[in-house]
Symmetry: C2
């Protein structure tokens, strides 16, 4: 038996998340079926991240075992012919039998995207959170900076999801907010009801860490939005962290703004 690692990208809009479940179609179910069809034998995948309903991925990681002799890198193109267009394998390679996508230390990068504009954009509705309010991006950046490093992120752990691990300590290696102005809006008279021209832009909250608690990135995004809107001060962020209490942080931002960008396995690189 060989173990094959897949890099999986998907638009999560039409899926009830990664993990197979009785109430709706999931990415894992569709991928397992494609693999089973391709290989002619029942094949199952295990993923690094069991993303929630509506969350997207550019680089989730899934592994499966097979006796097929197909060269490992061929699985990318072969599987894509069996998958719907909202799921696309981005790469495939053989890994040692001991490799497990979840029980191996990882460096994950998530991105939460926000469209700041007077009016929603139909072409960005699936993977951006629409935000009408003006945001103080500098305040959001200052607040986010408090989270870099090793901390107990208990305040940013959502209820439910997987069984909680023994520790809520995680390390964030890098966290940034990328702002991009939308030049295409200049001609389209996007203005607020008072008639003033408003700057339109996207924000991408990008966070890299050694692990994330359930809903952690979405709760961080929700807290940063509270701060960006001026509903609470930047100085709340260290207090939220210190409180180790979910009720101190902001709301969980909607799933569709979140994309799992990349998972790295430093031990295997």
């Amino acid at each position: 038996m060989r173990k094959i690692k897949l890099i999986v990208a998907y638009d999560g809009t039409n899926y009830c998340g990664w993990q197979i479940q009785p109430n709706g179609i999931t990415v894992q179910e569709v991928l397992n079926r494609a693999l089973t069809d391709l290989l002619g034998t029942e094949t199952r995948t295990v993923a690094a991240s069991r993303t929630d309903s509506g969350v997207h991925a550019r680089g989730n990681v899934a592994v499966f075992s097979t006796e097929a002799r197909m060269p490992a890198e061929r699985f990318t193109f072969a599987l894509n012919t069996y998958l719907p267009p909202d799921i696309r394998i981005q790469g495939s390679e053989e890994v040692p039998e001991s490799f497990h996508p979840r029980f191996t230390s990882t460096i994950k990068t998530y991105e939460y995207k926000i469209l700041c504009r007077t009016i929603p954009d139909p072409l960005r509705r699936l993977d951006y959170l629409f935000c009408y309010d003006r945001l103080d991006v500098e305040a959001m950046r200052q607040a986010l900076a408090y989270l870099v490093g090793e901390h107990d992120f208990k305040s940013f752990q959502g209820a439910g999801g997987e069984a909680s691990t023994h520790t809520t300590v995680r390390t964030i290696y890098k966290a940034e907010i990328l702002k991009e102005e939308l030049e295409e809006d200049t001609g389209n008279q996007v203005q607020d009801p008072g008639g003033r021209q408003r700057e339109a832009y996207t924000l991408r909250i990008r966070i890299t860490g050694n692990g994330f608690l359930y809903n952690m990135v979405r709760i961080i995004a929700g807290t940063l939005l509270d701060i960006g809107r001026g509903h609470r001060p930047v100085s709340d962020m260290p207090q939220i962290l210190a409180a180790k209490d979910r009720t101190q942080a902001g709301p969980t931002a909607p799933a569709h703004g979140l994309t799992l960008l990349e998972i790295r396995y430093p031990e295997w690189e």
Copy 2:
């Protein structure tokens, strides 16, 4: 009766184009229904551009007449509450009775988007043409430059569509190809089957002119792709233009890569 001008954005994926037709749901049909529901009386729109099935818009223009007293700029927000999320009014204003969105001279800007990558990206599948082949972007730019100015674009006129106008002469004011590298791909091991790392990028062919023949931008895009792939030389472009013969140009590129960005009415500005 007042005349109201709307700026209409839509994701064309789920529509059979703009114009009402018996075989499927169209943007116009949904917009007319929203207006009728909002105003409580049968209301119909006339659009500047009757975009084809699958084509998107950021700034199509539609007008309607109404006796409602609502302030013109309020229609934007009011209508959006009646519309599905893949259609969003971007602005509304009152225009003189004599204003007609099609029989008034316009400056239109279209954009054709291409994703150049080894593997399709699920999050760009709806509004980018996926292109596996390496493209000579500089050759495409040189070829596109031949089209700027006043020319007879008969070679770039598709069969079908609306009744042909008396002339196929149009003026292109500006034409450019914007290239953007995709930094998020760096970690995702996107490589071609030979294992070489490949540059991933998007191209946006953006063309501004005083009018466009049926399928003109898509035929230009299809011709540029032929040239970018090296299937024909840059020097073919002036010959295609001179031939005034549709069979000399390249194929019509798929609809989903095309977005109508903006329509300006210089007489009314």
